[in-house]
């Protein structure tokens, strides 16, 4: 169905320089809505979290939610923005059934936060500064579900259902300045920027920040210009790209598509585009021009928001450590290499490792357990590692048992399975499963004799100085003892028996 021509990304990069821009909408997790006392809750029965204000009944008036202002200021501060001393809401007038008043109450020319920046770290450690133009407050619209069509879009639908639960949910829209100079890193930067914003709002606790629920939604603007040209090209705006991966793919695709359009000598059409996850392409939405007339004017039903400087400073003082700074600090504290630390971050177990260390494990033990044992299990179970239910104390106890020689690593892994299966504490499981390391040399010597007898050629090799061949004998002993032997002790005994010193 999609017939747009595209150029290869490499060719596009040879010829053109991409300029990006993002509008990220963050749904705040306040208890009530932006302008009404109705609950702000996701996933309830349609049209239950609404009152007369949300439905735009005759006579209603909005009242600004103070908690939403507080969250917006925190976001502004975390994005290194200035906070307005006074700012107003405006009405954005347009007729659409997801907007009960047929206007959206939004900040327009007086955003609460402006002129900020965010430093984005790319995968190779390069830091790229994204300038933030503004972060402003507005209300979300209701949710339309188009019924009867094949695509779920309004075209071809028989009718549409509207759920006003989302109408009036507080939003903060974060708008970047044009981002130049990313070059071929543009798709990666796009993903990293949205990830960073998501991480910040999650870290602030002001949003549930779940992209799959639309808590964080991204509109990605892309334009291309020939290398060396100052003036920006015509942009497209791909709406509602709602996963980090999709942000990367959508930017990449749009760069390729724009390049093909420009190559053909045609002008790029300024329009909104829809992202399709299945085909990883965009299709044309509605033509958009700067002349769209929303007849903005100051919202006369609301008084200006005037955050006192004292309040702003109070909020600044309560801000949590920025995620990037925290990462830097933790890596230094733990002594991980860049590669090790990046793997930890990518696996999403940084918080868990921090907790495990706090519970008494060493940094290397914590990493070994989370990266070596738990991440793999989580992958198999198709959940986040943190959701497996492994408590830091469990890991500390397992590590201590290994260190004291009570169990070996293989057993410890088995004990962890037992803990995850709900069989009890590590100590209980060791008892129940009879997993204690065999440290009495008697049974071991018998097993060693049997193993040496079974593989006389290997025994000869060891006697002849090829000590590395010992693994086969150790393996035989471990097998015979069902893994309960202390492998180190087995090795010592074999060498002793064969009269080899190393």
């Amino acid at each position: 169905m999609n017939t747009d021509a595209i150029l290869s990304f490499e060719e596009a990069m040879e010829k053109y320089d991409p300029v990006l821009g993002f509008e990220v909408h963050v749904e705040l997790n306040t208890k009530t809505k932006m302008f009404s006392s109705a609950p702000n809750v996701f996933g309830d029965e349609p049209n239950t979290n609404v009152n007369e204000v949300d439905l735009g009944m005759p006579g209603v008036l909005p009242v600004v939610n103070k908690a939403a202002i507080e969250s917006s200021i925190k976001i502004g501060l975390a994005l290194n923005c200035k906070i307005a001393e006074s700012c107003r809401f405006a009405r954005k007038n347009y007729f659409y059934p997801d907007t009960p008043k047929n206007f959206q109450t939004s900040q327009y020319d007086e955003p609460i936060a402006y002129d900020g920046y965010l430093d984005i770290e790319l995968s190779d450690g390069t830091v790229f500064r994204v300038e933030i133009e503004r972060a402003h407050m507005e209300e979300d619209a209701g949710k339309l579900t188009h019924m009867g069509g094949a695509t779920g879009r309004i075209q071809g639908a028989d009718f549409s259902l509207v759920d006003y639960n989302r109408a009036g949910v507080p939003l903060v829209e974060i708008v970047t300045k044009p981002i130049e100079g990313a070059g071929s890193r543009a798709p990666e930067l796009a993903k990293a920027y949205v990830a960073a914003v998501r991480e910040i709002v999650k870290n602030l606790g002001v949003s549930d920040a779940r992209m799959e629920r639309g808590n964080v939604r991204c509109d990605a603007n892309v334009s291309l210009r020939p290398h060396g040209r100052e003036r920006f090209g015509i942009r497209s705006e791909t709406k509602n790209v709602n996963s980090l991966r999709a942000v990367e793919h959508a930017v990449r695709y749009e760069i390729q598509r724009h390049a093909a359009v420009l190559d053909s000598g045609e002008p790029v059409v300024q329009e909104t585009r829809h992202w399709h996850e299945d085909t990883r392409t965009t299709t044309s939405g509605r033509a958009k021009s700067d002349a769209d007339d929303y007849r903005y004017f100051p919202e006369p039903d609301l008084v200006p928001v005037v955050p006192s400087r004292e309040w702003v400073e109070e909020l600044r003082a309560t801000l949590p450590e920025p995620p990037a700074a925290r990462r830097k600090r933790l890596q230094a504290d733990w002594g991980y290499s860049d590669l090790e630390f990046r793997d930890v971050v990518n696996a999403g177990v940084m918080d868990e490792i921090e907790e495990t260390i706090a519970a008494g494990a060493s940094a290397s033990v914590a990493r070994k357990w989370w990266m070596g044992e738990i991440v793999g299990r989580a992958k198999n179970a198709d959940v986040d590692p943190g959701q497996l239910g492994v408590r830091p104390a469990t890991i500390v106890e397992l590590a201590r048992m290994v260190e004291e020689g009570k169990i070996n690593n293989k057993m410890a892994s088995e004990v962890l399975d037992g803990v995850l299966a709900g069989e009890g504490t590590p100590a209980e499981i060791v008892d129940k499963r009879g997993l204690a390391v065999v440290s009495d040399d008697g049974p071991l010597l018998e097993a060693i004799d049997a193993a040496l007898a079974a593989q006389p050629d290997v025994a000869d090799k060891i006697r002849g100085g090829k000590v590395q061949a010992i693994g086969a004998i150790v393996g035989g002993v471990m097998k015979a003892t069902r893994g309960q032997a202390d492998a180190g002790r087995v090795r010592e005994l074999i060498l002793e028996k064969l009269g080899v010193t190393v």
């Binding site: 005759p58 006579g59 009405r91 007038n93």
Partner: protein, 518 residues
């Protein structure tokens, strides 16, 4: 037991006294008004002040008040002074249990799921609500002729307009169909009807009374206020409905002053009362000007100092108003689209898209004056015109505020005629919107500046024998001054006339019957 004909002519304050003294019951009072409504409001030549009569609920509230009084004790002692005194409510204000139409077909049959804050306060005071009164559609008009439910008639002359948009509330009070009513005033919709019906109407300071539940025309100008036959009655009602409301962000946090005490001050000695040079003289009917001068003379005799002030920017006020009001109205009325409530009209042919349903609904549901203002406002807010129209109008608004600020440095209260003419004939200005708009020339500046204004009867014009209104204006938050000066002037005028002006009004019951018989 008082004769019903006398009972309905009593002021709200007097009714309250008689109720408290047990001389009359609230059921008797309420029934007397319901009977009066039945006698004069309906029919081809009726006043048509009411769009809905709420007899059952009103009588139930009255009976509840009577029962509490009869039982005595703490609950009876705690009754509000106006408990049991009935009231009519402009149909722009939403009420549970009664329809609210805003005078428009687009809301025909709609019932609000919630009460306006002022209605909650009426209920808390246990005032029986007699019903909902007629108005120009969405309060857009100065004659009540733009109501989708037919015009209201002026009780002084049934062929004349009762003013607007709150002609229903003013006429109901003037025709003794209610002792009190609520109105809304965006550019004069309480005061101008008061002037042409010989009643009292007050537009409080912007933010003094909660707007929650008043269907918005122009949010920055709208204000709910009292309608009554005496200044004291308006003060009593203002005291019930006023005060901070957390549901209205523009509601003032200040506690309400004692307005009733202000109405009982009894003296204007030493007060400086300013004549606004720009709001009388040319363009004002001679009879209006004469009665205005009478009032000035009486105030002077009573010891007030009469000064003249100039408000040069008032000449631009009407123009600014007719940009700001329609701009806000065009946005406020966007919600009436047939999607969630009210009228829904499907297009007769062609595709059944949401845009076409919205279009068909609004085309059929709104009257011409509403459409005119929506179009005006949409235009004024459009990109490329915003600065020239809405932007300039806001600047004028600031200048008007400065004129008031300057005037109030030399005067405690300002005075002018409320309207340039007495009541015109039904239909006379219907085809001339500009002539209709000019009726609000003296009332609009107060809305633009947010200051309070009161209109009281100033006598009858020599040339037509119809009521003339006198307007008093005070600085924002100084509503009390209006009640003080208003009550003094009222008592001086009534002493001159030998009784209330409305006593000179033609006997309405006979008038209605006579006209119908013709």
């Amino acid at each position: 037991m008082t004769d019903n004909n006398e009972l309905i002519r009593l002021s709200a304050a007097r009714l309250a006294e008689k109720l408290a003294a047990g001389e009359v019951t609230s059921v008797e009072v309420t029934q007397a008004y319901l009977d009066r409504i039945a006698a004069v409001d309906g029919g081809e030549r009726g006043v048509n002040a009411f769009l809905h009569v709420n007899a059952e609920e009103a009588l139930a509230v009255a009976a509840e008040v009577d029962a509490i009084r009869a039982a005595g004790g703490a609950e009876a002692d705690a009754l509000h002074v106006l408990a049991g005194v009935p009231i009519a409510v402009k149909d722009l204000i939403v009420t549970v249990g009664q329809p609210t139409t805003a005078g428009s077909k687009i809301l025909e049959g709609w019932h609000s799921p919630y009460d306006a804050t002022v209605v909650e306060r009426l209920r808390a005071a246990k005032m029986p609500i007699l019903g909902k009164t007629n108005l120009d559609e969405f309060a857009m008009g100065s004659s009540t002729e733009h109501s989708a439910y037919g015009p209201t008639r002026n009780p002084w002359d049934l062929d004349r307009i009762p003013g607007g948009s709150g002609g229903g509330s003013a006429a109901a009070v003037a025709a003794f169909e209610a002792p009190l009513a609520l109105g809304t005033d965006t550019g004069g919709s309480i005061r101008q009807p008061g002037a042409v019906t010989g009643t009292v109407g007050v537009k409080p300071t912007y933010g003094s009374v909660s707007r929650y539940g008043a269907i918005a025309m122009a949010s920055s100008l709208d204000q709910i206020g009292p309608v009554s036959r005496t200044v004291l009655d308006s003060a009593l009602l203002h005291q019930v409905i006023g005060g901070h409301d957390p549901r209205d962000s523009t509601s003032l946090p200040d506690p309400l002053a004692d307005l009733v005490a202000a109405a009982k001050t009894g003296s204007v000695e030493g007060m400086r009362i300013g004549i606004i040079k720009e709001l009388h003289g040319e363009g004002y009917q001679a009879g209006v000007e004469n009665r205005f001068n009478d009032s000035l003379e009486l105030l002077r005799e009573a010891g007030a100092e009469i000064v003249e002030v100039s408000c040069p920017n008032f000449q631009y006020a009407l123009g600014a108003y007719y940009l700001i009001m329609p701009s806000e109205a065009s946005s406020n009325l966007a919600k009436f689209d047939g999607v969630r409530y009210g009228l829904r009209v499907l297009p007769e042919d062609g595709p059944m898209t949401i845009e076409r349903v919205m279009g068909a609904t609004r085309a059929a549901g709104f009257g011409d004056e509403v459409k005119r203002r929506i179009i005006l406002g949409t235009y004024a807010l459009s990109a490329g015109y915003y600065d020239a129209y809405y932007g300039s109008a806001q600047k004028v608004r600031t200048l008007v505020q400065r004129d008031f600020d300057a005037a109030f440095t030399v005067a405690d209260v300002l005075i002018s005629p409320t309207a340039p003419t007495t009541a015109f004939r039904l239909g006379e200005k219907l085809d001339d919107p500009l002539a209709m708009y000019l009726n609000d020339v003296a009332t609009i500046p107060a809305n633009l500046a947010g200051v309070p204004g009161l209109s009281l009867p100033g006598g009858l014009a020599d040339e037509d024998g119809l009521p003339v209104g006198i307007q008093l204006l005070a600085p924002a938050r100084e509503d009390a001054r209006l009640y003080r000066v208003g009550a003094v002037l009222e008592s001086l005028l009534e002493a001159k006339w030998g009784g209330p002006l409305l006593a000179q009004a033609p006997a309405l019951g006979e008038l209605v019957e006579a006209k119908e018989a013709k």
